[in-house]
Every structure is written in structure tokens, then in C-alpha cells.
């Protein structure tokens, strides 16, 4: 049988235990390899998307805007401007003569119509080529309308999704420092890198509230422009999903001396550790006591039901392929908690350190892969006889076609998977896919009438 991976891609796949750890990553996707990655624009769009009272205008032909319309499950407790898809829908004439005039007019029209608190203007591939001066247009409209109008340098071809995260962070950095920070508690944080999918940030905020900690800004789940403007008044940045918002935390550390810690809200272990880390930072015994109490209370609520799932799922096999590898750490632990073995783990944009750590925390034989594609992923699922695959929409049909269970852990999901409740939801979702009776009928488990004997 021929190798599944292209020769140029072999160095981006590591099998635990076969050789000393080595993996190549952080490089451009190989042409023709059908990468699961998106582009710079996608990176910026997903990070800024949940800021619900900002106008998000995509400057380019219609595709970029229409494929990202209401794409995230990022909820808002108030305005829902972020759920609309705005575009300049550039036409041939705009490409020839430049799109600046159209952009300016579109911005003014939309700002007048929706009265947003700020506007983000996303650059797309073509804008990078025709050379529209986004800065100049944004500055002009900013003066005219008296709200921040911020260009996002997210031309699709200028790097990968990670460069898009950076561009989004640069854009947000222009807001930070412009708001009033008085009356902010000394026990205060910003939540970075949670996007309030299915209401997750509301749970997390509630935990911090119960600990006596003030959240200044959600960055960006259920985000508000005015909160972000005063984010520099917080004492600590609590950063999840390091790929997306770590750059911003670093900028804030440099600019405002705000330290940051990296956390994850997935799984009991990491969720608890996140709360303890924050408590430790404030070095206040009362906060720590409240954190302990909270964890105990929350774990007690979910533990019995999780044990039930664990019993049923014991020894089943899981594969993970996610956007950023940081989430994968938590997933490996979460699967362990419900008795399952992770046999493959990969990501679109992990770093060498991430993969090395993954190699350390997974069992021998586990496949670790960077920037994979459908042919590789499907072959791993078959080879490892996986029971459930965790990924996003693009990974789903790969699993389903082969008769393998699936759990959506991407930004489109409608189930809250963060926090303690999220762990229970995760266990439930894994259980409801793995234990479904439909697998009895799929070809890998059964024959069907008409099969040749």
C-alpha cells in the first residue's frame, strides 16, 4: 500500500515511541495537499467576531464575508451586530479603479444605520493586491463618525491563521488604553481567548464572580468595545487558547505591565487549575478558599454522572484534530477522565513546544500530526480503529463516512464544553455518539445485503 502522506509531509507526522521526538511545523501549507487550514483573514475574523457591538466590515469580494456569516456559536447577552455579515462586495470596476471610495461610503452607511461602538475593517487578499489604503480611509471615517474605525491587516495570503490572530490582536491593541479605568477592583482580570461559544464565558465569569474577582473585559466572547477600551485597568490577563490572544497579552504586558497566565477551561483538572492559578496570583487566602469551595461544589454536581459515562466508555479510542494545539492538551486529559485512550492528536497551527508536550502526555504509538489533510486523517482513523473523532465541521464527514463517532469541538458548536458543566456536556456528547446503535449498521461493523461473499 502506498504511503498516505506526501513525502514532503512526512516530517510533520510523529509516532510516539518509534523515534526520538521530532516534528516540523509552523510552515506554509503544501500546495495540493488539501490542508484543513483556512487563512489569515479567517484567523482575524474568528478572534474579533464575538465583539458584539462592533461593526465587522469585510472589504473584498463577497465570498470572504458570506462564508463567515454567523459562523461562530459566539453568544451575546446584548447587541448582536456581530451575527450580521457586512461586505463591500467588490466588483470588477472596484478592482480596476480601487475600492477606497466604496469602502468609505459603505462604512458611513453602515455606521449611520447601526450606530456601532467601533468598526473593524478586514482586508482580504485582493485588497492587499490592489493596494487600497485602509489606514487612510479608516482614519477619515473615524474623524467623521467619532468612533474607533480600525483596519485589520488580514490579507488571506499573508501567512496562515496564526498571522490572522496577530492582526486581530494588533487591531484590539488600538482600542486598549482608551477607556476609563477608575473603579476597577484590585482583584480584577481580563478573560482572553474565550469566545463564549454556547454561553461558556458566562459560566467562567460566574466562577470568578463567586471567587470575588472582577472581570474587566471579555476578549472576545460576549465582548464589548467599551470593556476592551478599559482592559488595561485589570490586574491580570487570564489567557486561554494561547494561539489566538497570547500576542495581545504580550503587548499588554509590555505596554501596561499587566502579567498574564495561560489557562484552559476544558476538563475538570484544567478548569480547577485555572481557578487556583488565578487565586494564587492574587495571593489572598479568602479567594483561594472560595475557589476550593467552588471546585468542590461543582465537581460534586457532575461527578456521579461522569462516572456513569466512564464506565460505558472505558477503553474506547479517541482521535483529536483541532485548530490550535493548546486545546488538545485539555482534551487528552478530558478523555482520560472518561476512561478513553487518545490514539491520534493533531492541529492546524501547533508549535514545536506544543507537539513535544503532547508527545509527553500521550501513550506510545499515538500519532501526532501538524497541518494534516483528509487522506491522512482518514487513514489514521482506520489504522487506529478510532471510536470517536474530535474536530470541526471539516473533519466531521471524514469520521462519519467511515462510520466513526464525532464530537464538534470547534467554534461552530452549539454545546458548551468549557467549565465544569462543560465537562459533563462533553462526556455526554462523547457518550451519545460512541454508544449510538447506528454503528451496528456501518460497513466496518457489519455486512449488508448485496455484499459479495
Amino acid at each position: 500500500m502506498e504511503a498516505t502522506a506526501l513525502k514532503e509531509r512526512e516530517s510533520q507526522i510523529h509516532r510516539n515511541g518509534e523515534k526520538p521526538f521530532s516534528i516540523v511545523c509552523d510552515k506554509d501549507s503544501l500546495a495540493g495537499a488539501v490542508s484543513q487550514r483556512a487563512c489569515v483573514f479567517c484567523g482575524s475574523r474568528v478572534v474579533l467576531y464575538p465583539i458584539a457591538d462592533a461593526l465587522h466590515l469585510v472589504h473584498g469580494p463577497i465570498g470572504c464575508a458570506v462564508y463567515t456569516w454567523d459562523i461562530r456559536g459566539a453568544l451575546s447577552s446584548g447587541p448582536e451586530l456581530h451575527r450580521l455579515s457586512f461586505s463591500t462586495d467588490l466588483q470588477e470596476m472596484d478592482v480596476i479603479f480601487g475600492g477606497e471610495k466604496k469602502l468609505e461610503a459603505a462604512l458611513i452607511e453602515l455606521i449611520d444605520r447601526h450606530q456601532p461602538k467601533a468598526a473593524f475593517v478586514y482586508s482580504t487578499c485582493i485588497v492587499g493586491i490592489i493596494g487600497d489604503d485602509l489606514e487612510a480611509v479608516c482614519r477619515k471615517v473615524e474623524r467623521l463618525k467619532d468612533i474607533p474605525v480600525i483596519p485589520v491587516q488580514s490579507e488571506g495570503f499573508k501567512g496562515n491563521k496564526r498571522s490572522g490572530y496577530k492582526a486581530a490582536c494588533n487591531a484590539m491593541a488600538r482600542l486598549i488604553g482608551t477607556g476609563d479605568t477608575k473603579d476597577i477592583s484590585k482583584h480584577s482580570i481580563n478573560i482572553l481567548g474565550d469566545f463564549n461559544l454556547a454561553g461558556e464565558i458566562w459560566m467562567i465569569r460566574d466562577y470568578f464572580k463567586r471567587m470575588g474577582i472582577e472581570v474587566v473585559a471579555n476578549i472576545t466572547g460576549d465582548g464589548r468595545v467599551n470593556d476592551i477600551r478599559r482592559a488595561h485597568g485589570a490586574a491580570l490577563n487570564v489567557v486561554q487558547c494561547s494561539g489566538a490572544t497570547m500576542d495581545l497579552a504580550n503587548m499588554m504586558e509590555e505596554g501596561y505591565g499587566i502579567p498574564s497566565i495561560r489557562v484552559s477551561y476544558f476538563g475538570i483538572e484544567d478548569m480547577s487549575e485555572a481557578l487556583y492559578d488565578v487565586a494564587r496570583f492574587f495571593d489572598d487566602p479568602e479567594i483561594m478558599a472560595r475557589a476550593r469551595e467552588l471546585v468542590q461544589e461543582e465537581v460534586a454536581k457532575i461527578y456521579p454522572e461522569i462516572q456513569k459515562y466512564k464506565h460505558a466508555l472505558k477503553g474506547k479510542k479517541a482521535a483529536i484534530y483541532v485548530g490550535g494545539s493548546f486545546k488538545a492538551f485539555s482534551l487528552v486529559k478530558a478523555f482520560r477522565m472518561i476512561g478513553m485512550d487518545v490514539v491520534m492528536v493533531g492541529s492546524q497551527t501547533g508549535t514545536k513546544e506544543d507537539y513535544e508536550e503532547l508527545a509527553e502526555i500521550t501513550d506510545p504509538g499515538t500519532i501526532i500530526v501538524d497541518d494534516s489533510n483528509p487522506l491522512e486523517l482518514s487513514s489514521f482513523l482506520t489504522e487506529k480503529e478510532v471510536d470517536i473523532f474530535v474536530g470541526g465541521v471539516k473533519e466531521r464527514p471524514i469520521a462519519y463516512k467511515l462510520g466513526v463517532g464525532f464530537c464538534d469541538h470547534n467554534h461552530e458548536r452549539k454545546e458548551a464544553l468549557a467549565g465544569f458543566t462543560g465537562m459533563l456536556n462533553f462526556a455526554r456528547e462523547v457518550y451519545s455518539s460512541v454508544m449510538s446503535p447506528v454503528w451496528h449498521f456501518v460497513p466496518r461493523n457489519s455486512s449488508s445485503p448485496g455484499d459479495k461473499s
Binding site: A31, G32, C39, Q91, C125, L375, S378
Partner: protein, 456 residues
């Protein structure tokens, strides 16, 4: 008729970009891999969008261009990409569509492909290439789809020996529609080439092993033979053939293969036109099976007519689908009040008038608007007071706001499963549509009623 305000910005577009249409069309050719010459994001976004409708794998390859390629040209990456696709997928054909990036930097794809053939072609058989120019800033996914079909016939069809077969170019319809069309052709005893054919490639069975390229699609040999067909039937009253030509017209021009352009066969009127043509082409009368289908359909129209009469419908989506749906809705007594599309063929109004002639009076004609987005449609809806929306799933937020039923048809259906199994065409499709529309209106009435009748 009041004029729409001419907004500069677009909000919630009612169209997709041109390369997506081309990628879908290429997916319907046997052994083909769709390929986008552009940056990585386009292919990934389109895959995600298509997967959310079909729940099927769709691998779309990409040149994955980065900044230096944007400056120096994408030729090297296009060649590398083709090489990698060839070695991993072993395709018979690679369908290459451009994107706004590569159109703007001026990559000369035909020339690059010639160079590639020269460099790589010695000593091995390369898969065929078909290329189509699909700048996303001109036209929508429908121009992309029809453009890909046209490129395929122009670049592959040959002056084959005359056969009795018929070419059928249905445009973008559901997998169930392609299956049904094939069944109709067979039942008329007509051998046919349906291009493309998404019946299997985007609605396949559960598998033991992942197929690099899904089974099915129009066979290449059949496409090559299209020049020798007896006739072409092409669906689409709003294809702007003056501007873009069409697959059917190309076959007529190059191979003197007569082209019959019909509307999408939606509802009885438009389907009768197709069956009349098939009777002529096959020299047979309509098979009993379809006579019965039509008979049952008429019978059901009678059974249900009171529940739908006079209800006001907004129809939106791809122009040809809008035309066909309007024909169907008008013939069952529903009043189309707005026909809207993001497309801009310039032909929508004329086509709607043509298919509703004899059914709608001059004072009953709907507003027909091209270049619409959902902001415009919502604004219109406020004035028009519709009882139902008919279109793809992107109208769901509007239907929810208006608290009226949305009849999900066409592409995409992102909030339900089985979009590819929705049947729209022919008498059988009209039956499905009629039952769905009627029952949705009855359900709405039942749910809103304080009494809760358990009979209609």
C-alpha cells in the same frame, strides 16, 4: 413600483462567490478533483460551506499561495499543487478554478498548464486539466457553476461519431434531482450524458474505507462524446448567454448539436415543457409511471388548494431556482409577492413573467429584484407582509423574525440534514414541494389556533 434604495454596502448576501460554483460542478465529474488556484483559505472556506449542506467529504485542493507568490506569480505553486494532487489522488481530471487573487495578479493559467504538461508530461500520463476563469468579483456562484460546465465541454468534448444520446445540463440542483433526471431519461429510453452529476459524488453511502475521490460523476468518456449527441437540453432561463455563453451553446456552435434551453422543471407547467421535449426527442409518449405521477400531483393540488390559495410568498435564491419556484407557487394559487436574488443576470424579470403567463394577471405580478441581499429582502418583507418564505436556509433568521414558515429548498441548507436529498424537479419533486408547502401552512394555522383542531 417603488425603487429599492441603492445601498453601497452588502449585508447578509444572497449569493456566493464564483469559484464555489465551479468547485461544485467539478465535483460532479467522475474521477475529478476540484482545485482552486488561490490562497488556502478559499478552498477551506468553501469546503466547510459545502460540507455543512451535504454532510459529505469534499476535498478541494489549493495552490496555497503565500505572500511571495502574490508578488512573483503563482505558477510554481500551481504546478507543485497539481503534482501533489496527481500523486495522492490519482485523479482522471483536475478541475482548476481561479480566484480573485490569481485573477488580479494576472496568472496566465492556460499558459502555466501548457508549461506543466511539457515539463511533467514525458514518460507519464497526466490527468486531464480543465481550467475556468472565476474571479470572485464578477458574477456569483451560478456563473462559476455554468462557466465550469462550459469549460468542461469546450476543453473535453470532441466531434464524436453521431450517437443517439442526449446531453443534459441541469445546472446546480440537488443530488436527488440528478438521480431523478437520470431515471426520467432512462424511462424514456434515452441514453444521456448528465453534466455534472452530483447524485453519487455528494450523496454517497457509508464506507469501509475513505475514497480519495467519491464514486460517481459524469464519466469522462461520456463527456468526450458529447459533441456527437443528438441534442442538448440545458436548464436555465436566466443564464446570460449573451455575456457568458453556455455549455449547450458551445456544443451547438462547435458540433452543430441543437441546444434546447428550458427552465428548471419545477411545477407542472415547466415540467410539461420538459416532457413534451422528451416525447419529441424519444419519439415515445410519456411513460405511464410519469402520467401517474402527474395525475396524483394534480389530484393533490385539488385536495390542498384551499389551504394555500392567496397566501403571499417571498421567493429568494439562485435566479433559475427562483423562476422555477415562482412558476410552481403561482400554479398552486400562492401569490408570489417578491422574487429576489443576489444574482444579476438582467433576465430575472422577463423569466418570471414568462413562466407565470396565463396564471398571474398583469396586476398580480410579483416584485422581481436582482442584486438583493437579506437586508433588502427584510426591508421588502416588512412592506409585503408575506405568509411564507421559500428559499435556502439563510432566510431562517428572517422567517423567525416574521414568525412565518420557511420552506427550505436549494443550496445551502445549513440548519437541517438531508439538503442533498430534497427533490425539487419534475412531477415527483413538485409533489414533495406541494406537500411540504401545504402542510407547513396548515401547521402554522394549527399552531396559532387557540382551538387546536385535529382535522384539517
Amino acid at each position: 413600483m417603488s425603487k429599492m434604495p441603492n445601498y453601497i454596502s452588502t449585508t447578509n448576501a444572497c449569493k456566493l462567490c464564483r469559484p464555489l460554483g465551479a468547485a461544485l460542478a467539478f465535483r460532479g465529474i467522475e474521477g475529478a478533483v476540484p482545485y482552486l488556484h488561490g490562497s488556502q483559505g478559499c478552498a477551506t472556506y468553501m469546503r466547510r460551506y459545502i460540507i455543512s449542506h451535504f454532510n459529505e467529504p469534499i476535498d478541494i485542493a489549493s495552490s496555497s499561495l503565500s505572500e511571495k507568490h502574490a508578488v512573483y506569480g503563482g505558477a510554481a505553486n500551481l504546478k507543485l499543487g497539481l503534482k501533489n494532487v496527481t500523486s495522492k489522488y490519482h485523479p482522471q481530471l483536475i478541475g482548476i478554478a481561479t480566484t480573485c487573487l490569481t485573477e488580479t495578479i494576472g496568472d496566465d493559467v492556460p499558459r502555466i498548464l501548457q508549461e506543466y504538461a511539457k515539463e511533467e508530461g514525458t514518460g507519464q500520463t497526466l490527468p486531464l486539466n480543465v481550467h475556468v476563469s472565476t474571479p470572485s468579483y464578477a458574477g456569483s456562484h451560478m456563473e462559476g457553476f455554468h462557466g465550469a460546465v462550459k469549460s468542461v465541454v469546450e476543453q473535453l468534448a470532441t466531434a464524436a461519431p453521431t450517437k443517439r444520446s442526449i446531453n443534459l445540463l441541469p445546472g446546480l440542483v440537488s443530488s436527488a434531482d440528478y438521480r431523478y433526471l437520470s431515471e426520467i431519461m432512462q424511462d424514456f429510453g434515452l441514453s444521456s450524458t448528465i453534466l455534472p452529476d452530483l447524485s453519487e459524488t455528494l450523496d454517497g453511502p457509508a464506507l469501509m474505507e475513505y475514497e480519495k475521490i467519491p464514486q460517481g460523476g459524469t464519466p469522462l468518456a461520456a463527456i468526450r462524446g458529447m459533441g456527437g449527441a443528438r441534442a442538448t437540453i440545458e436548464f436555465g432561463r436566466t443564464m446570460n448567454t449573451n455575456k457568458h455563453g453556455s455549455g449547450g451553446l458551445s456544443l451547438q456552435e462547435h458540433f452543430a448539436c441543437p441546444n434546447h434551453c428550458l427552465g428548471l422543471p419545477l411545477g407542472i407547467g415547466e415540467t410539461d415543457r420538459l416532457f413534451a421535449l422528451l416525447e419529441t426527442l424519444s419519439s415515445r409518449t410519456t411513460p405511464h409511471k410519469y402520467v401517474q405521477e402527474r395525475g396524483r400531483l394534480v389530484d393533490s393540488y385539488v385536495d390542498g388548494h384551499k389551504y394555500v390559495f392567496g397566501k403571499r410568498a417571498i421567493i429568494y435564491g439562485d435566479e433559475d431556482l427562483v423562476v422555477g419556484l415562482t412558476a410552481f407557487l403561482a400554479e398552486i394559487g400562492i401569490k408570489p409577492v417578491l422574487c429576489a436574488s443576489g444574482g444579476k443576470s438582467g433576465l430575472l424579470s422577463e423569466a418570471v413573467a414568462a413562466v407565470t403567463k396565463g396564471i398571474l394577471g398583469a396586476d398580480e405580478m410579483p416584485r422581481v429584484l436582482e442584486g438583493m441581499d437579506f437586508f433588502d429582502i427584510a426591508a421588502e418583507a416588512e412592506q409585503l407582509g408575506p405568509d411564507l418564505l421559500v428559499g435556502h436556509s439563510k432566510g431562517a433568521p428572517l422567517a423567525r423574525k416574521l414568525n412565518i414558515p420557511l420552506i427550505r429548498v436549494g443550496f445551502p441548507i445549513h440548519d437541517r440534514i438531508g439538503g442533498q436529498r430534497l427533490l425539487h424537479l419534475g412531477y415527483r419533486g413538485a409533489q414533495m414541494l406541494f406537500d411540504t408547502v401545504t402542510n407547513s401552512l396548515i401547521e402554522k394555522k394549527q399552531n396559532d389556533s387557540p382551538i387546536g383542531y385535529s382535522y384539517m
